[in-house]
């Protein structure tokens, strides 16, 4: 139905830059997630698309329409708010019907479309209740119902799951994704939760301090983060980072940090020779460690286990190797005792390398 295009969009509040030079083209029917820590500008971007914030500079298109100066009500979008913003003095039915009534649709059509939306969300039995009489999950559904009844060109979601408890959040996440497939409407979804972003988005936009850090599919972000921030933001537990010296190894180069030494793969050596600098930032995901029997300098890291955190499907091991504090996910089958020595082998092909100053990736 509609693609959404943002060209060099900026938002300034007095002197504070909330969103800086935002460029993104969202395909028709795509589900794009804006993710980032609070204050990164993701909600501001969404609100600019919605027409709730003015645009300082740049252009936003929905379809072929330039919507910069179009009031919110004429943009043909629907939005689900974090606190749902249900009208407390109206019944669920009136809440869902409100936008259609504002557009003066005929009564029968309103009634039919409300039924349809309620049917999709399984809330027909709640239509005559007031929002106060609903549970959190039910309110969330009504908020979604209010959005889908309009059949808008674009759905906007502003952290719609953050007021639900953990279990319900996972369930609703799934339902929203199914709903999106069924309705096949362009959607922009804002969240601060990277798991939500990974599981829901066709594409993810990672933002920080008003700037886009990286745009890509979930697995692109996971496998090839563009910089240190994205690498640390995506994945849980977060990636291990440490600074290391480049040194001459047995054959080729190796990374040296205190007593830890890791031989680099030939391809990595070639790239680092071109890179030129002697100190780099190394990132290893906890799940890229594998426990080993025997320590072999250059291949493995030997350290002392400090804390063991079993979470059921995984066991996280916090261990110390010389100066380094690292965390490794070793699977549930490995039995580890605190305060014992342990040898871990990192998957060198999954090593992430970054420039220390800029944080930019030099892996690719």
């Amino acid at each position: 139905m509609a693609e959404v295009r943002l060209e060099n969009v900026c938002k300034h509040y007095d002197k504070v830059v909330a969103v800086d030079n935002f460029n993104l083209s969202i395909q028709d029917k795509e589900f794009v997630v804006l993710v980032g820590p609070s204050g990164c500008g993701k909600t501001t971007t969404l609100r600019m698309i919605a027409g709730l914030e003015t645009i300082t500079s740049g252009r936003i298109f929905i379809g072929d329409r330039l919507i910069n100066d179009l009031p919110a009500k004429e943009r043909n979008i629907a939005m689900v708010f974090q606190n749902y913003a249900l009208y407390p003095h109206m019944t669920v039915r009136d809440n869902i019907a409100f936008s259609l009534e504002m557009r003066k649709r005929p009564k029968e059509e309103i009634e039919q479309r409300v039924r349809e939306a309620a049917d999709i969300l399984g809330i027909e039995h709640l239509l005559d209740r007031k929002p106060k009489q609903l549970s959190g999950g039910q309110r969330q559904r009504v908020a979604v119902g209010r959005a889908i009844v309009r059949k808008p060109e674009v759905f906007l979601f502003d952290e719609p799951l953050s007021n639900l408890d953990a279990k319900l959040r996972v369930q609703t996440r799934l339902e929203l994704k199914k709903l999106h497939e069924r309705l096949a409407t362009t959607a922009v979804y804002v969240t601060h939760d990277q798991v939500e972003a990974m599981t829901m988005g066709d594409r993810i936009v990672v933002m920080k301090d008003g700037l886009i850090q990286q745009v890509g599919s979930p697995m692109e972000l996971y496998n090839t983060p563009a910089n240190r921030f994205v690498a640390g933001f995506i994945g849980s537990p977060a990636m291990n980072f440490f600074e290391a010296e480049l040194a001459g190894g047995t054959d080729g180069l190796c990374l040296q940090s205190g007593e830890v030494r890791l031989d680099l793969l030939p391809e990595q050596c070639r790239r680092l020779e071109r890179y030129g600098r002697k100190r780099i930032l190394v990132g290893i995901r906890p799940e890229d460690f594998r426990p080993c029997e025997r320590h072999e300098q250059g291949q493995t890291i030997s350290g002392e286990v400090e804390v063991v955190e079993p979470v059921g499907n995984e066991t996280y091991v916090n261990f110390r190797a010389g100066e380094l504090n690292l965390i490794a996910a070793v699977g549930r089958k490995t039995i580890v005792q605190a305060h014992t020595r342990m040898v871990l082998q990192p998957a060198m092909e999954h090593l992430h390398l970054f420039d220390i100053d800029s944080g930019k990736s030099i892996s690719k």
């Binding site: 919605a50 027409g51 709730l52 009031p71 919110a72 009500k73 943009r75 979008i77 629907a78 939005m79 708010f81 974090q82 606190n83 913003a85 009208y87 407390p88 003095h89 409100f98 936008s99 504002m102 557009r103 209010r146 309009r150």
Partner: protein
């Protein structure tokens, strides 16, 4: 509070409470006590004045038959209701604009309205009197209808701003996206949601207008146009002759509408009062 010796509760709670209540209620008792006494009993110094020996409604009858008390009541009603309606309408719009529309001068406007609330009538009544005179509203109830909002509007605006603040902004934004115009949002979303606020503001306006004394005293002269408090004092005290019984009967009867409104809406009244203080 959990474990308390019973003696300590008596001295820390019941005794002070009773003393306070006696202090606060005694004038009312004295008023009622006077109303139902005959003049003869009232001025007989040998009798216990705290007790009614021969109850009579003579004072009330005299109030309604020999004075135009009902006329004064009607005048007060007229002024209070109109002033309340005007003030509510003006303050609702102003409070919404200042709190929610956030136009350029909304901050200073809010401050100015708060300052207006702090200007007492005693400073304003003399220049107002000359303005009223020039507007040819002297000795007209319209003078009161137009001047009462000067102390009602600032208060109501302040009170309603607090209510508007408590309504989530997203509700309006959602309605905006849903296609409602701002005026529509004000009518369909904001107003229904702040009805309790409008109600307490209305109660305040009504009681404050009903209680007003200085402007009514200064701007009204003919006795048929007086409001109750003015009428009672000026018409029931002739020179040295005080009709205490009827005077107290008038005070009692004129308090009834206010007391009634108040008794129905104590909660809103208290909420409004404390809400306004906290803002």
């Amino acid at each position: 509070m959990a474990i308390e010796r019973s003696g300590s509760k008596l001295f820390k709670f019941y005794l002070p409470l009773v003393m306070y209540l006696v202090f606060l209620l005694f004038p009312f008792y004295w008023m009622v006590n006077t109303v139902f006494k005959s003049d003869k009993e009232l001025y007989d110094m040998s009798l216990n004045p705290f007790y009614i020996h021969h109850p009579t409604v003579h004072n009330i009858v005299r109030l309604f038959t020999e004075t135009i008390f009902l006329r004064w009541m009607a005048n007060t009603f007229f002024v209070a209701i109109l002033a309340t309606l005007i003030s509510l309408a003006a303050s609702l719009l102003a409070a919404y604009a200042i709190q929610r529309l956030r136009f350029k001068t909304s901050g200073p406007t809010g401050v100015a309205i708060f300052l207006a609330y702090l200007i007492p009538q005693t400073i304003l009544f003399i220049p107002l009197a000359s303005i009223i005179f020039k507007l040819k509203l002297w000795d007209s109830l319209w003078a009161l209808v137009l001047t009462y909002p000067t102390f009602l509007v600032p208060f109501c605006t302040w009170l309603l701003m607090g209510y508007f603040k408590s309504i989530p902004k997203e509700m309006e934004e959602c309605a905006m996206i849903d296609g409602a115009s701002r005026i529509r949002i004000f009518w369909k979303i904001i107003l229904p949601l702040c009805l309790p606020g409008v109600l307490s503001a209305g109660i305040f306006c009504f009681t404050l207008s009903w209680n007003e004394y200085l402007y009514a005293l200064a701007f009204i002269s003919s006795s048929a146009k007086k409001t109750v408090p003015i009428g009672l004092v000026t018409e029931l005290v002739r020179g040295d002759i005080y009709h205490w019984g009827s005077l107290m009967a008038g005070a009692l009867c004129a308090s009834v509408p206010v007391a009634l409104v108040y008794s129905f809406f104590v909660e809103q009244y208290v909420a409004g009062m404390t809400g306004a203080l906290k803002e």
